[in-house]
């Protein structure tokens, strides 16, 4: 008995020391910050080129991003299983080239970069080329000329001309000429813009790039419009007419040319997965200096594909929540309905925020209990009854979502994050508990579960905790050690100090 205790203590001690040691190493030698403060936002951008094979050899050319407007690329990583791979540099533009003789299955190629915006620069200068008139059908030409004439009459310079043009095309019901042009261009407003500007002899081109949204999985390229006003280049959003470079825009390619070209493949697509991390300014600088062989990030979650990183951001929080449950049950002695039900509820709270989550949870459970009490009169078999409760819960969720959306309470839409099956079982158990032991016990157990859930939520939503678990996953080993130790705790629970209070005093 005491031997197993010793073993556990030894193993747990080693685990705790290992985790803390590795963390200390990373903090002291690799300059990873322990606290989330003074950080830089580093974006991991993963490009996925997917296509299906057609006959003949396959060649994929991907234009690599030009780091413009203060963006700095820290790290590049290519995944090219079974493909020949080269990077060609041509006139300052880098291009990745994957080749393969034969290909049988649909394939996805990956290109991952980590980048951050060091300075909020404007785009640098760009050579002005006088545009050639576009090749148009006669009726297109006529419509476009009428449009230009009309706009020129209303505008004073290139900038106001372009803005009016954008406005004209962005109207929900464009006027006749604009509508006709949009129709012949299959609704591609950007192409209409470029051709119209070219016909009006205004130099223009697109700047393609990515709108950065944390956690976004299937982002595609968007284009901004750049026109030369005579004095310099002006960047405009082709849909809204807002000028300047948006803060969440990562420029990929400026000017003419294609970003992706696939020969010997069909149905090709280019999608981006995005993730934002906060790294300390120091780390970013040191990464920049020796981006070639930076071993630090190979150790960590950062080495994973972006989608998995995003998932791990959440998963790595679970052990902390488990620790909360262990502490509350072993040291405090709070009874919860279902061992880990509180964690699932806490996860839902993370999506909904605390008060909204609590309100939704309480209303779902109480309405569910009420309906369940009616179901109990019907004398149904258990599995059918729980399934009925599942459906009722889903209907309630849908009703709540629709009602709140109509009333303009967007937050309640997050109701979908609640685990339906778990909620239904909770309702079923609570209902039985109510019938057998009375409402007191329901309030006690339900309250216990909610209290633990709220505590787990508070811990999981702390920025420091998220930062530590994601950047120092080795701390989980220490956590495991702590939990092992707690598993051998034979002392009293806090609740027992209350439970046995009279027993000890009466003597």
């Amino acid at each position: 008995m005491s031997e197993s205790r010793f073993q556990v203590a030894l193993v747990a001690g080693l685990m705790i020391l290992f985790g803390l040691g590795l963390t200390a190493y990373k903090v002291l030698r690799l300059d990873l910050p322990l606290t989330p403060g003074e950080s830089r936002e580093v974006w991991t951008i993963e490009s996925k080129v997917s296509f299906k094979p057609s006959s003949g050899p396959t060649s994929v050319e991907l234009q690599l991003p030009e780091a413009l407007a203060g963006w700095v690329v820290l790290e590049e990583h290519f995944a090219s299983s079974g493909f020949g791979f080269t990077v060609i540099e041509e006139g300052g533009r880098k291009q990745a080239n994957w080749t393969r003789q034969t290909l049988e299955h649909p394939t996805t190629l990956y290109y991952k970069i980590q980048a951050y915006r060091a300075t909020l620069d404007q785009l640098p200068g760009y050579p002005v080329v006088n545009p050639e008139a576009p090749l148009l059908e006669a009726d297109q030409q006529a419509a476009m000329e009428r449009l230009i004439a009309d706009l020129q009459e209303r505008s004073t310079d290139v900038e106001s001309f372009t803005r009016l043009l954008i406005q004209e095309l962005a109207q929900p019901e464009p006027r006749q000429d604009a509508e006709f042009l949009l129709g012949t261009y299959q609704g591609n407003a950007t192409r209409v813009l470029l051709d119209t500007l070219a016909l009006a002899a205004i130099p223009s081109h697109t700047v393609r790039g990515i709108r950065l949204q944390d956690g976004r999985r299937r982002q595609t390229l968007t284009a901004l419009l750049e026109v030369h006003t005579g004095a310099g280049w002006l960047l405009l959003d082709p849909h809204t007419g807002v000028s300047g470079m948006p803060e969440d825009f990562f420029p990929w390619q400026r000017g003419e040319g294609t970003v992706l070209r696939v020969v010997g493949g069909r149905d090709s697509s280019l999608e981006f997965a995005l993730l934002r991390n906060s790294l300390s300014a120091k780390t970013v600088v040191s990464m920049e200096q020796r981006s070639e062989d930076f071993a630090l990030l190979d150790f960590s979650i950062y080495a994973l594909p972006v989608e998995q990183q995003g998932i791990f951001k959440g998963i790595l929080l679970l052990p902390v929540a488990a620790l909360v449950v262990v502490l509350m049950r072993i040291l405090v002695g709070i009874s919860t309905s279902g061992t880990f039900m509180p964690i699932l509820i806490a996860l839902a709270f993370l999506q909904t925020t605390l008060w909204v989550g609590l309100a939704i949870f309480l209303s779902l459970v109480s309405v569910g209990l009420w309906i369940r009490s009616w179901l109990s009169h019907l004398n149904l078999l258990l599995v059918a009854r729980v399934s009925a409760v599942v459906i009722v819960v889903i209907l309630l969720m849908a009703t709540l979502a629709v009602l709140s959306y109509k009333m303009g309470l967007d937050q309640a839409l997050t109701v979908t994050f609640f685990p339906t099956i778990i909620l239904s079982w909770t309702i079923e158990r609570m209902s039985i508990l109510w019938e057998e032991e009375g409402p007191r016990e329901v309030v006690k157990q339900g309250g216990g579960s909610l209290l633990v859930a709220v505590l787990a939520y508070l811990v999981m939503s702390a920025p420091l905790v998220a930062h530590l678990t994601f950047n120092f996953p080795e701390l989980l080993i220490s956590l495991l050690g702590v939990i092992l130790l707690l598993g051998k705790y034979t002392g009293y629970r806090l609740s027992e100090l209350y439970r046995f209070r009279d027993l000890a005093n009466s003597k």
Partner: protein, 325 residues
């Protein structure tokens, strides 16, 4: 302000806590493979029959949904019976019918239910609503215990049962749980049943506790617990110790009822007996468990273990007097 006691006080009194019970007694002395014999009441019953340990008569077992209709027809002839889940835990799902009222069945609380309620209850049992881990279960129907009339005065609308904790074959501590109006005829202490600590040496009461507070008489029947002395005490201890040998469990709670004709009968066994028995006895378990371990090492056999336990754990004076009421 919530009043707490310090852990050191509890330790001085030898109070056993939940964590220590789980680690040092349950997982250390109860082998997992012995659990099914205890958790499955049907297996318990069979094993008890083999050893000649008396248990309530088994009327039947329902293991399929379609048998329920037949069961209800059969039960129409019975005056009293008990339906319980074979693998239930914590006394959940036990339905006690004490009499009939026309077509209806009278529960121990006096409430009358009809055949469809019986069907629903049994169907819930089969679906695993009351079972450990919610797995599918069987329902068993047992004879209603015709409990010893002497004990009737100590219980309101329910069967009083005797709980004996047996450690390594040595009876360590005992109590009798008396249902009250507050506990709705159930013998669960946390629902308001009275727990009466019983002296291992004599079978006489030591202290009585309801809701954690000392009481001297039954809140509903008014019977004084001071005079309580269990009949057949020797047989009860013998039965409890035999159960430990039967199951091979080192730390065991045996629930025993006293039948009018057949004397002590095994109701069910528990591999994870609760801690409330300490409150009922106004004494901690830890010291007794240590002594019991010594007895188990020294004693030659079953009889000697019981004899030594009765000598060692005998408490000459009950707590009633010292409190004064």
């Amino acid at each position: 302000m919530i009043r707490l006691v310090s852990p050191s006080t509890l330790r001085r009194h030898g109070i056993l806590g939940m964590n220590r019970r789980n680690i040092s007694f349950i997982s250390a002395w109860n082998e997992r493979r012995n659990y099914p014999l205890v958790d499955n009441k049907l297996l318990t019953k069979t094993a008890a029959l083999d050893r000649g340990i008396p248990t309530p008569e088994l009327y039947g077992v329902i293991d399929h949904q379609f048998q329920i209709a037949r069961m209800v027809d059969d039960l129409m002839d019975r005056q009293g019976f008990v339906i319980k889940p074979v693998q239930g835990s914590g006394g959940k799902g036990i339905l006690v019918v004490v009499g009939r009222e026309g077509e209806g069945f009278v529960k121990s609380s006096g409430a009358v239910i009809d055949a469809s309620d019986l069907r629903r209850h049994t169907s819930n049992i089969l679906a695993g609503l009351y079972s450990l881990g919610g797995r599918n279960d069987f329902a068993m129907i047992e004879a209603l215990i015709d409990f010893n009339p002497y004990l009737a005065q100590f219980s309101y609308e329910g069967v009083p049962d005797v709980r004996v904790i047996v450690f390594r074959g040595v009876p360590v501590m005992a109590m009798i749980r008396c249902a009250t109006h507050a506990s709705d005829g159930k013998a669960n202490l946390h629902q308001g049943a009275v727990g009466v600590g019983i002296d291992i040496g004599t079978g006489r009461s030591i202290a009585a506790v309801q809701h954690g507070r000392l009481v001297t008489s039954h809140p509903d029947t008014g019977a004084s617990f001071r005079e309580l002395e269990l009949p057949d005490w020797e047989a009860i201890l013998d039965l409890a110790a035999s159960c430990a040998e039967m199951t091979g469990l080192g730390y065991l709670g045996a629930d025993i009822v006293l039948d009018r004709q057949r004397g002590p009968m095994l109701l069910e066994l528990n591999a994870r007996p609760g801690l409330a028995i300490q409150v009922a006895n106004q004494e901690g378990l830890v010291h007794r468990l240590q002594v019991a371990s010594r007895i188990a090492d020294e004693a030659a056999g079953h009889e000697e273990r019981i004899r030594l336990a009765r000598e060692t754990f005998h408490r000459p004076e009950p707590v009633f007097e010292s409190v004064g009421s």
